[in-house]
């Protein structure tokens, strides 16, 4: 205890020292006392734990990273859409099916918007969902194992960006199309985009017990760009709101051609109405081809199934299901406040925020006060649905979240700042600079009915000089603000992996107690598992050899194998026999055209090796598992293809 106190004093002392020689944080405050209290706010002492989990999308890393708040410490990178040699995800036989698509094996994606499952509009911490933007996919990750359990591909979609947002009882995870495409895909002139392309909005049902996803229907909307979306909540539960841009339907030089209309739309979709229509037999089943990949925790194995049809819905066939709300200047974020009353359009090419009123929208629909239509979809009058405008004084509003105390926080990309404003009065309360060019921000639970409004994390697109330079390529940078007072306070900077486009936060107490420590060996249903120490064997089936191997501190069973021949395909099925928390073992084979495996206690993973030359080839454990880790190794004797060395396997002989 004394030691920690000393360290704390030393830390505060050093902060005082540094803040004394020129503070570069924004307004150049050199108030030592203030800085030291900020240091205390983010200081999580050795051995202590953070108050919140933050799940940050990895953008072009294709993965999801887990951080602690307020410390900014990174705990884990969860492989989702990208091969991950660290654990063997996407390399092991069990996980390769996770990355199958209708385009074949796609080992990468661009992961954007994580969202945690909800019950009654509040975070329930069962799963987190995230979208792959490039090859349209949605993944579901377990929040007890922190592993990807399911990936579903989306047909008829491209640029899966207005995704993956969840309705308030996790009835649906919703995914929209940013790049409209011909549906079905066909060879046609690009210049005939206008009125020929479609933007599919997919409603994917989530099984309430095991979380399995299934495309309930795709709403085939006009060929705009559907940028971001959010569900209605509480009073507006049953609706979903999507921002659009490029309502001009330009197909080239969009930066100019898609920015000509003074107003684009927020599409308001009454999904309950469409669900009812579909449940009564509505919609058109169309041929499709998309992958559905499910990982089974009991067999530790994923399977990939190609689905062959999808139910599509023409919005014009369901009267009263879809309306357009005119919203200025290519809105990006589409955010709904915790009461469900306000729908915020963040017009990224303007200075102001447009706030629509759900009550006014319903009144306008009931009064049938339309301002024309687009492709048969009624457009509501801007003035009739407008609740207010936030005259922010900033430039380029992108995304808004809420603190649950009647305040909203909006990022401004162009003017690099976070602006705090009041719902209802639309007055700006505070503004703080970010460093630099902030994209999304995140308040834990900030897109639910019950935000935990203590911190806001701003995810910046540009890092420049915030950290020691690392050549031309830099990690992105997040900034942490304390929002517990009237004024926001920038308290911490930390680098983030990949490019976080969005994040989801949740109080640690909701997740930490149910985080799994081991996989039970007695529940391991892997067909090649070795569940008892004497169950190891090596079986030849033609030129395929299956090694049923177990591992425990600090040996493999078997660790000497002979009788393998050049031209064989050797499957190492390896079961970790530990049942102790945090005792993984690894497996790596010399010259293998694959990655290592990192196998958790009670788990089985499989690695394929195709030996190319005769010899005696070693393998070893890659995880420093014990004092005898260096001894955890073995040999495989490889003989020429025509040899008759008998197949043997031994340990300790």
């Amino acid at each position: 205890m004394k030691k920690y106190q000393f360290q704390l004093i030393a830390l505060i002392g050093s902060v005082l020292l540094f803040s004394g020689c020129g503070n570069q944080n924004g307004k150049g405050i050199s108030n030592g006392a203030l800085s030291s209290s900020n240091a205390e706010k983010v200081y999580v002492a050795p051995g202590e734990q953070d108050e919140f989990y933050a799940f940050m999308s990895g953008g072009y890393s294709g993965n999801l990273t887990v951080y602690g708040l307020p410390s900014g410490r990174m705990f884990k990178e969860i492989p989702v859409f990208s091969q991950f040699p660290t654990s063997g995800y996407g390399y092991s036989e069990e996980t390769k099916p996770m990355l199958e698509t209708s385009f074949g094996f796609v080992p990468w994606d661009d992961a954007h918007h994580p969202d945690i499952s909800q019950s009654k509009g509040e975070l329930d911490g069962r799963w987190i969902f995230i979208n792959g933007n490039n090859t349209p996919r949605i993944a579901r990750i377990s929040l007890s194992t922190f592993e990807t359990e399911e990936i579903i591909e989306l047909p008829n979609s491209a640029g899966n960006h207005s995704s993956s947002f969840i309705t308030e009882n996790t009835e649906y995870v919703v995914a929209g199309t940013r790049f409209s495409v011909p549906v079905p895909q066909r060879d046609m002139p690009i210049s005939e985009y206008k009125s020929n392309f479609k933007g599919a909005l997919s409603f994917i049902s989530v099984d309430p017990d095991h979380g399995h996803m299934d495309i309930k229907f795709q709403l085939m909307m006009p060929g705009f760009n559907y940028d971001l979306s959010h569900p209605g909540r509480d009073k507006s539960h049953g609706w979903f709101f999507f921002t659009t841009y490029n309502t001009e339907e330009a197909n080239s030089l969009l930066e100019v051609n898609a920015s000509q209309n003074d107003k684009d739309f927020i599409a308001a979709v009454n999904w309950k109405k469409i669900e009812e229509y579909v449940n009564n037999g509505g919609g058109t089943m169309m041929p499709a081809n998309y992958a559905h990949n499910v990982y089974d925790e009991a067999t530790h194995t994923a399977t990939s199934t190609m689905k062959k049809e999808v139910l599509t819905v023409d919005p014009l066939k369901v009267p009263g299901a879809v309306y357009f709300l005119p919203t200025p200047k290519s809105p990006h974020g589409c955010d709904v406040d915790p009461t469900g009353q306000y729908i915020i359009g963040n017009g990224k090419l303007s200075a102001d925020l447009t706030v629509h009123s759900f009550d006014k929208m319903i009144a306008a629909i009931e009064g049938e006060k339309f301002d024309g239509e687009a492709y048969g979809i009624p457009i509501l009058k801007f003035e009739d649905v407008l609740a207010g405008t936030v005259k922010s004084g900033g430039l380029g509003p992108l995304h808004t979240e809420f603190d649950g105390k009647g305040n909203a926080y909006t990022t401004f990309f162009i003017s690099s700042e976070v602006v705090k404003w009041k719902l209802g009065t639309w007055e700006v309360i505070d503004r703080k600079p970010t460093f630099y060019s902030v994209g999304h921000l995140m308040i834990p639970g900030g897109n639910s009915r019950k935000p935990f409004g203590k911190y806001v994390v701003a995810m910046n697109k540009i890092t420049k000089d915030r950290y020691l330079p690392t050549g031309p390529e830099l990690e992105h940078s997040a900034q942490l603000y304390d929002i517990s007072g009237d004024k926001m306070e920038l308290i911490y900077d930390f680098p983030t992996h990949g490019e976080p486009h969005y994040a989801a936060g949740i109080p640690a107490e909701l997740l930490a107690p149910k985080s799994k420590k081991i996989y039970r060996l007695d529940e391991n249903k892997h067909p090649y598992a070795v569940t008892s120490p004497d169950g190891s064997k090596v079986v030849r089936e033609g030129n395929e050899v299956h090694v049923y191997m177990s591992m425990i501190r600090s040996h493999f069973t078997p660790d000497n194998i002979e009788g393998i021949k050049v031209g064989d395909k050797v499957y190492f099925h390896i079961t970790n026999h530990e049942q102790d928390f945090d005792v993984p073992h690894g497996f790596a084979m010399i010259g293998q055209n694959s990655s290592e495996l990192l196998i958790m206690p009670g788990q089985t993973k499989t690695s394929v090796w195709e030996p190319k030359q005769p010899g005696v080839w070693p393998f070893y454990c890659t995880d420093f598992c014990s004092a005898l880790h260096q001894e955890m190794q073995g040999y495989v004797r490889v003989s020429p293809a025509n040899s008759d060395v008998p197949l043997t396997f031994t340990l300790g002989e």
Binding site: I552, Q579, D580, A627
Partner: protein, 207 residues
């Protein structure tokens, strides 16, 4: 004598707790085990404190050449102890009943206490002998063979009572609920004896 006999009937019943609660508890804590490993010693076998603790203790002990922890069928004690405890409970209750109906005097209560104490001491002796054997009778091919400062081979017997450091582990060995219940029960039989002794003149007149 009635009160004394009733107390004598109740006291031995506390020993029944041994059929449910552990007699002794040994915990092993180390920096890399923030949740310490532990074993509960019951009269019919050794069990985990948290699931897989015994497996993990065995996994660690194999480095220093200790045998694996005994299963109930590996030691005669685990089949004998329940019979002895059951027998002593029955005997104590019978003594109380006989006292109640004035068939035996309060001196028999002390007799039961003394017999139980002797058995208890024997049990502790046996338990300690096992721990010494378990901690010193090591596999000659052990992975780690450590020596004390004086060159003698290091041994790893956990303490019978209290705390000791063994390599990177701090070992704590203490009586558990079953033992405490047994102490309460035995104390009650002693109380029964004293009550009987105090009222001996009155009893004599009554007789």
């Amino acid at each position: 004598m009635k009160k004394a006999s009733i107390i004598m009937m109740i006291g031995p019943l506390f020993l029944l707790g041994l059929f449910y609660f552990p007699l002794w508890n040994i915990m092993l804590g180390a920096p890399q085990y923030p949740d310490p490993l532990g074993m509960n010693i019951h009269i019919d076998g050794i069990r985990d404190v948290n699931e897989f603790d015994l497996k993990n203790i065995d996994g660690l002990n194999h480095y220093i050449g200790m045998r694996t922890l005994p299963k109930p069928e590996d030691m005669w004690e685990f089949s004998t102890f329940p019979l002895v405890i059951g027998g002593m409970v029955a005997l104590g209750v019978v003594f109380g009943l006989l006292g109640y109906f004035k068939k035996v005097s309060y001196k028999w209560f002390l007799g039961w206490f003394i017999l139980m104490s002797i058995l208890g001491v024997l049990g502790m002796y046996d338990f300690n002998a096992w721990m010494v054997d378990y901690g010193t009778n090591l596999d000659p091919h052990a992975i780690m063979k450590l020596s004390n400062a004086d060159g003698t081979p290091m041994t790893y017997s956990p303490p019978l009572f209290g705390r000791a450091n063994m390599l990177n582990f701090q070992v704590t060995s203490l009586p558990s609920i079953g033992a405490w219940l047994m102490f309460v029960g035995m104390t009650l039989t002693l109380v029964a004896f004293f009550k009987g002794w105090k009222n001996r003149n009155f009893n004599a007149i009554q007789d």
